[in-house]
Symmetry: D2
Subunit: 350 residues, 4 copies
Amino acid sequence: MAEKIRIGVLGASGYTGADLVRLGVRHPAIEIALLTANSHAGKPMDAVFPHFAFVDLPDLVTVEEADWSAVDAVFCGLPHGTTQEIISDLLARHPHIKVIDMSADFRLRDPDTYATWYGHEHRALGLQGEAVYGLTEHYATAIASARLVACPGCYPTASLLALLPIVGAGLVAADDIVIDAKSGVTGAGRGLKQNTLFSEAGEGLSPYSIAKHRHAPEIEQEISKAAGKTVYVNFTPHLIPMSRGELCTSYVRMVPGTSADDLRACLADAYQKAPFVHVARPGVVPQTQNVRGSNYVQIGVFADRIPGRAIVVSVLDNLVKGSAGQALQNFNLMFGLPETTGLEQLALFP
Amino acid sequence: MAEKIRIGVLGASGYTGADLVRLGVRHPAIEIALLTANSHAGKPMDAVFPHFAFVDLPDLVTVEEADWSAVDAVFCGLPHGTTQEIISDLLARHPHIKVIDMSADFRLRDPDTYATWYGHEHRALGLQGEAVYGLTEHYATAIASARLVACPGCYPTASLLALLPIVGAGLVAADDIVIDAKSGVTGAGRGLKQNTLFSEAGEGLSPYSIAKHRHAPEIEQEISKAAGKTVYVNFTPHLIPMSRGELCTSYVRMVPGTSADDLRACLADAYQKAPFVHVARPGVVPQTQNVRGSNYVQIGVFADRIPGRAIVVSVLDNLVKGSAGQALQNFNLMFGLPETTGLEQLALFP
Amino acid sequence: MAEKIRIGVLGASGYTGADLVRLGVRHPAIEIALLTANSHAGKPMDAVFPHFAFVDLPDLVTVEEADWSAVDAVFCGLPHGTTQEIISDLLARHPHIKVIDMSADFRLRDPDTYATWYGHEHRALGLQGEAVYGLTEHYATAIASARLVACPGCYPTASLLALLPIVGAGLVAADDIVIDAKSGVTGAGRGLKQNTLFSEAGEGLSPYSIAKHRHAPEIEQEISKAAGKTVYVNFTPHLIPMSRGELCTSYVRMVPGTSADDLRACLADAYQKAPFVHVARPGVVPQTQNVRGSNYVQIGVFADRIPGRAIVVSVLDNLVKGSAGQALQNFNLMFGLPETTGLEQLALFP
Amino acid sequence: MAEKIRIGVLGASGYTGADLVRLGVRHPAIEIALLTANSHAGKPMDAVFPHFAFVDLPDLVTVEEADWSAVDAVFCGLPHGTTQEIISDLLARHPHIKVIDMSADFRLRDPDTYATWYGHEHRALGLQGEAVYGLTEHYATAIASARLVACPGCYPTASLLALLPIVGAGLVAADDIVIDAKSGVTGAGRGLKQNTLFSEAGEGLSPYSIAKHRHAPEIEQEISKAAGKTVYVNFTPHLIPMSRGELCTSYVRMVPGTSADDLRACLADAYQKAPFVHVARPGVVPQTQNVRGSNYVQIGVFADRIPGRAIVVSVLDNLVKGSAGQALQNFNLMFGLPETTGLEQLALFP
C-alpha cells in the first residue's frame, strides 16, 4: 500500500473509541495520527486503556488541541449531543476530511424527532441533512461517496439487518413487530454508574428504558421507510451480565401465505454478497459467542408453532459491528478499500 | 413445635433437590429423614454438594433402599419421566404419604398433550387426574387438601403469575401473547452438557428450544383455562450467563379501553394477600437480583408507547419460587403450617 | 423472646450495611429501628437496595437526625476514618449503647501504626484502647463484655483464622508467611470506581495494593501477638471476577518435625467448639462456593511436596463472616444470645 | 507470499485446537489443509465450533483418515498421552513434516520424571530426546531448526518467562520460590466435568491439584536448569471464574544486595528484543484483561515491604501465548517467517 490514511479518533477514552483503536492499529491502510479525550488529555493511551501498552500510539489531546491538518478521516466516539458542533466546525474549516460518526447525533433524519428524543434542537441541521445513515449493507452506495456517515446504534444495526429485507419485501406486518433486545454491559459505556458495577450487574438481569429507549425512533425511521408508511415497533432492551454481545429476538406476524422459510430465503438473498452478514441454516441458533470481538452478524429464522408467526434472531458484537467495526467498514467504502480490510478476524471463542 | 414432619428428598444430587435440602435444613417443622440419589448412593451428601459439610444429613441411598416408613412427605426432584412409576408405587403402598413433585410428570392434565410433548404415554394416569397443579397463589385451596401436588415449571411460574389474573379478568387478548423468557444456567440442571460449561455459556447468550420448549403446553394449559378457550402463546426461552434467576418479558395486547395501570391494579388486587408475590410501583423495574435465593416474585407493568399494548415483567429465582421454594410453600399449606414458614429469607444481594 | 433488641445501622447504603440489614431482618431478637445513609437521607431503603422492597424498614436518615434513644445497639458500616468521631460522640452521650464497628477505625491497637497507614492521627484514642478486636473465635470472652467491638477486616478474618492457632502453637515460622489473597468485587464496596465496572473487572484478574494494603498491619498485629514477637507477613490481594467470596492461600514453613497433619490437628482442636469454623478432612479443598452468603469458614491444610512446607487454604464470604455476619455473631455474644442466632443459613449454591 | 504452508491440526475439537484454527485462518502464510477430531469425524468444523460458520474449512476427519501428504506442518492439540505414538508413527513415515506439539507429551526431558507424573513409560523415547522445548523467548535458536517442538504448558510459560532470567542471573534463591497461579476455566479443556459447569465454577474460586499438578515438574525442569542445580518450587494453581487468562504471582527471596529494581532491569534486558514479552514500568500492575485473546505477556516486579523479598506478576492468555499462539510463534521460527506473523492482534478489551 502506497501511503496510509491518517485517522483521528475523537473520544478515545470510551469503549467504542478504544475498539476503533484496537482495530485501527492492525488495519493495513491506517495510520493513527490523533487521539482525543478531553478529560485525559496529556496522558499516554495506555494510562487509560492498559491493553495498549504494547504498541506506539499518539498521546491523548483535547479536541481543541487537535491538529486537523494531520488527519484525512475522523472517527467520532463522543457522547451524544456533543458531536454536532465539533463536526460542524471541523468540516467548515477542513471540508476535505471525511467523518465517520459513531454517536447518535446524525442518525435521525427528522429534526423534530431528534428534538423530541434528545431534548434539544439539533445544532447542525445542514449536516444532518447531508449525513448518510451508515448501515453498510443497506446504504453502501451512498456511503461510498459520503463525507459524513452516521453509524447506526448497536440495537438498530442488530434489528434492522434482520428486519429490513423482510419488511421491504412485504413479507411481514410492519406494524406488529416486537423486538426483545439483550445487550452486554459495554453497551452502557465506560461512565461510572451504579447499575454497571460488577456486583450490581453480575448474576442478574433486567429490562431498562422500557418504551423510551432512544434507539426506538431510529429503528422506526428505517422500518417505516422500508414499509412505505409510518409504523411503531415495540423495542425493549435488557441488560445482560456479559461484557460484549447483543441479541435481538424479533417477533413478527407474516402476511398470509408466507412461511419462515420464505423469510429466511429473503434474507439469504438480501445478504448473498455481504461478507459480514450470514443467514444461518435452518435449525442453527445464533448466539453472541459466535461473533464476540468480530464484525460478523448472524441471523436465524424460526417458525413459531403459532401459525402465521415467526421469530427472527440476530446477533452481533455491540462494539464491533454495532459500532467501531461498522465504522471501519464504512471507512473502507469511503476510501475505496475492500470492505473487509482490517475486519476479518473471527470471534474470540471461548 | 411438637413433633417435626419427616421428609424425604428424591433426587437429592440435582440442583432442585439440593435447594430443597438447603431450605429444609433451616425449616423449623422439618426433619430431613431420607435423601436418595441412585448414582451416588452410599455417599454422604457433602461428597456431592460440599456446601453441606457444615450440617448433619442422612447419607444418600437409592430409591429402592428408601425406608418409606420413616417419612411423612416426599419431595421429588427426579428427572422428567422417571417420577411417575416411583410415585405411583410409593402411594400404592404408603397412601398416607404426601407427595410434592418438582418434576414435570404430573403437570399436564391432558394425557394426549403429555404424550405428545414427552414422547410416551403417561404411566400413572390415575394419579395424573388426582394431582393438583401447585401454582400456590392460584390453587391454594386445592393444594391444602391434596395428596399429590405437581409443582409448576420455573418458566410457567414466572409467566403465569404475571398473566393469569389479567387474562382471567379479560383485560388482554389471550391469543396474542409473546413471552420472551430468560433463565440462568441452573435451569438446565446439573447434568454434563457442553453448552452449560462455564467457557461455553459465559460471556454469551442465545435462545434455545425455540417453539418447542416443554413449558409451552403447561403455560397454554393455564392460560387457556383462564381465558375459557384454547389458546397458543409464543414462548421463547434464552440462556443467560448467570447461575440463578429468571425473567419473563410478556408482550400483551390490551382490550380496548384498558390501560397498563388497569393491568397493574388487577395484579395488585389478585396478590394483595400473597406474601411472596409483589407488584412493583409504577416505574420500578423488576430485576432478578432482587429475588436471588429467595421465594419472592416481583411483577412490573409498563405501558408500551404503541397504543393498546403493554409489557409485563416478572422475575423469580428459578430454583426457589421456580422449584424448591414453591414446593416448600405447598408443603406448608398441605401440613397446615403458615405459608411462609422457612421461606422468609431475603435475596442475597449483591 | 420477650422484647427485641433495637438496632441502628449506620451506613446502610453500603454493601456491608445492607448485608447487616438482610440478616437482621430475619434475626429473631432484632428490631431494626434506625438506618442512616447521609447521601440518601429521606429515601426508603428499597430505593437504594431494591431487594428490600418486600419488607418494612425505617426510611433512611442522616447520622445527625438519628434518634439514639430508639436503639440499644449500633452497627457501623461507615467509610474508614469517619467512624471515630461519630462513635466517640455517640458513646459520650449514650454510654449504654453497644457498638459493633465494621469499619477499620478501631482495629489497630497501636496509634502510630494507625497514623502511618491511615494518614492521620486517631481521633478517639481513648476508645481505641477500649475497643475489643472482634475476631469472634479468638476474643469471645472479651467481646461478651465489651461496649465497643472492632470487627476485623475480611482478609484478616480469613487469614488469621487459618494462621493464629498454628502460629500460636509454634508450629510454623511466623516470619516466613506468604498470604496470597483473592477477593470478589464486593470487597471494593459500592463506590463508583472504573476498575469495579462489570466490563473492567469481568473476565479478568489482577493483584492490587501490592505490599501496601491496609489489612497487612492488622494481620501482622495479631500474628505478632500470637508469635510473641514482631513479624511481617507477605500479604498480596487479588481482585477476582465474582461478587462475593474470599480465599486466602497461605504458604508456611513448618518447624522441624511438624507435618501438615499436625497443623490440621491443631486447627481442628482450636475450632472444635466453634460453630462456624470448619476444618476440612484431608483432601477436601475449600472453595468459596461452599460458604457464599453464609457465616461459615472452611479451612484446609495440604502438605507441600517441598519438605517442611505446607499450604493452608481458608475461605469465607467477605460480606458475611468477613463483615456483617461476624458483626452479628459478636452482637449475639454481647447480648447473651446463642452465638449462632440468625446466622444459621447455609451457602447459596449454586 | 509465494506459496502457503499447508498445516494440519490434530484435535481440532478442543479449545487449543480451535484457537489454533482461529489464528491460522488469518495467518497470511498458512493454508489449513487438515483438521482431525476422532469423535466428530465427518462433521463440518462449525458443527463443533459454530463461530467458524463464516469461513471455509476442511471437514473433520479421524487421525487414521488423515492425508499426511497434504500437509507441511502439524499442530497437535490431542489429550496428553495420546500424542506420542501418533507423532512417532507420523514422523517415521513422513520425516519432512514439522511438528508443533501443544500437548504435554514431549515436554519433560527426563523419562523417569515423565513416567512418575504421567503414570506410564514414555512411548517415543527417541523423539523425546529430539524434541525442543518450545518456550520461544528462551529456545529460539533450537526451535528454528527443530523438527519437533514441545510447546510448554500455559502455567510453565507464564511462570518461567517471569522467573528464568532472574534465576539464571543468580538474583533470587531458586529453592525458595512460591508460585501462586490462577487460571481461567478454559485451562481445564472442553471435556465435560462437573466442576467446570457454569453454575459450579461461576461466582467462586478454589485451588486444585495442590502439590500434585503436572506443570510442577515442567517448571522445576527449567528452573533447575537455569539455577544449575535441582530445585523444587511451590506451585499452586487456582480455578478462576473467567474463561481465558492466567496470572502467576511468584514470591521470591532475593540474594543480598539485590532490589526489585534489579529484577525488573534483568527482565527488561532479557526481553529487550522479544516482541511479545513486555516488562511493565514500575507501579504498573499486570492484569489478564490486558492480554486477553492476544499473544502478549506482561510482567511486573514489586518490592515486598519485607526486606529481601519481591513479588513478580506475570499474565498471559492461556489459549494464546499459553498454547496456540506460542505454537504459531514457534511455527514462524521453524519456517523462517517473522516471529510475529499472524499474531499481532491486541487484546480484546473490554
